[in-house]
C-alpha cells in the first residue's frame, strides 16, 4: 500500500523541532479551513452586492455565486479530510516540509505555516506557546 510505503520509508522523527506528519496535516487542514472561510465571506459579500444590481445583470453574478459556493464546499471537504487524517497520522514520523515551505510564494501563508510547524522564520524573542498544561 502506498501510504504504508511512505510511512515506512519516511524519516523517523529524531529532532524534536521537526514537524511530524500529524502536525503537518493539522496545519494544512487549518489553512484549507481558512481558505474556505474566506470563500464563505466572499459568497456573502457577493450576495449582498446582488441586491444592488439591475435584474438583467444578476444572472452573471448568480453563476459566480454558485461557483464560490462550490469552492467553499470543496475546500471545507478537503479541510475535513486533512483534519481527519491528521488525527490518525503518526506523531513520530517526520514530514519533509522544507522544500514545500520554500516553494510557497505567498509570504503570509509561508510564515503562518512555518509558525504552525514550529519552524522559525527569523530570530524572535517571542515565547513559544508550547503545550502548557493549565488544568
Amino acid at each position: 500500500m502506498e501510504t504504508g510505503t511512505f510511512f515506512m520509508t519516511a524519516p523517523i522523527l529524531s529532532d524534536a523541532s521537526a514537524p511530524s506528519v500529524a502536525v503537518t496535516l493539522d496545519v494544512l487542514s487549518g489553512e484549507i479551513e481558512l481558505a474556505a472561510a474566506r470563500c464563505i465571506r466572499l459568497d456573502k459579500i457577493l450576495g449582498e452586492f446582488m441586491d444592488r444590481l439591475p435584474s438583467a445583470e444578476r444572472q452573471v453574478l448568480t453563476e459566480s455565486l454558485h461557483g464560490v459556493d462550490l469552492l467553499a464546499q470543496h475546500l471545507t471537504g478537503l479541510a475535513g479530510f486533512a483534519r481527519t487524517v491528521s488525527l490518525a497520522a503518526p506523531e513520530d514520523i517526520a514530514a519533509p516540509v522544507d522544500t514545500a515551505l520554500a516553494g510557497l510564494t505567498l509570504g503570509a501563508l509561508a510564515e503562518r505555516m512555518a509558525d504552525g510547524l514550529g519552524i522559525p522564520t527569523e530570530p524572535t524573542d517571542d515565547v513559544d506557546p508550547g503545550e502548557v498544561d493549565l488544568f
Binding site: L34, R38, G80, D115, G116, D128, P129, V132, L134
Partner: protein
C-alpha cells in the same frame, strides 16, 4: 432586530484566529480576535463581551489569567490540541461550559457558539456537557 452578540476569540495561532473571526462575523456575530492575554484583558475590561472562545495553551498561564478575570460571567468555549474530558471538567470550575479540540472546523465552532448563546441556553454548569466535546 436583536443586538449583535460580541464574541472574543483568543488564540495564538493566526490561521485559526482569522478563520474563527471570519466564520463568526459572517454568521452575524461581532467577533473580536486577539492573540494574547494582554489584548484579551483589555477587551474584557471594556465590557460588552457575550462569550469567549479561549485557547487552552496560551503561553505563561495566560488562559487561566483570562478565566480568572472573567470570573464565570460569560460562557467560555475552551479550545486546544489534545483537549480531553479531564481538561474540560477541570476548567468548568472557571466558567468553561464547552470544549472543542483543535484542529476544528468553522462549522463546529459556529455550532457551539450558537448553542452557548442560544435563547434560553442554560447557564454554564459545573458539570460540562461531554457531548459537546469533539475529539
Amino acid at each position: 432586530m436583536p443586538p449583535t452578540r460580541r464574541v472574543l476569540i483568543v488564540d495564538h495561532d493566526r490561521t485559526t484566529l482569522e478563520m474563527a473571526e471570519i466564520r463568526l462575523e459572517v454568521a452575524g456575530y461581532d467577533a473580536v480576535a486577539v492573540r494574547d492575554a494582554v489584548a484579551a484583558l483589555k477587551v474584557l475590561e471594556a465590557g460588552d463581551v457575550d462569550a469567549v472562545v479561549l485557547e487552552r495553551q496560551l503561553p505563561a498561564m495566560a488562559s487561566l489569567q483570562i478565566l480568572e478575570a472573567l470570573a464565570s460571567t460569560v460562557p467560555v468555549l475552551l479550545t486546544g490540541r489534545k483537549l480531553t474530558d479531564e481538561h474540560i471538567e477541570a476548567a468548568a470550575a472557571h466558567g468553561v461550559c464547552a470544549g472543542l479540540a483543535k484542529p476544528y472546523s468553522g462549522a463546529a465552532l459556529l455550532e457551539r457558539v450558537d448553542r452557548m448563546l442560544a435563547e434560553g441556553a442554560p447557564a454554564c454548569a459545573a458539570e460540562p456537557e461531554d457531548a459537546w466535546l469533539e475529539v
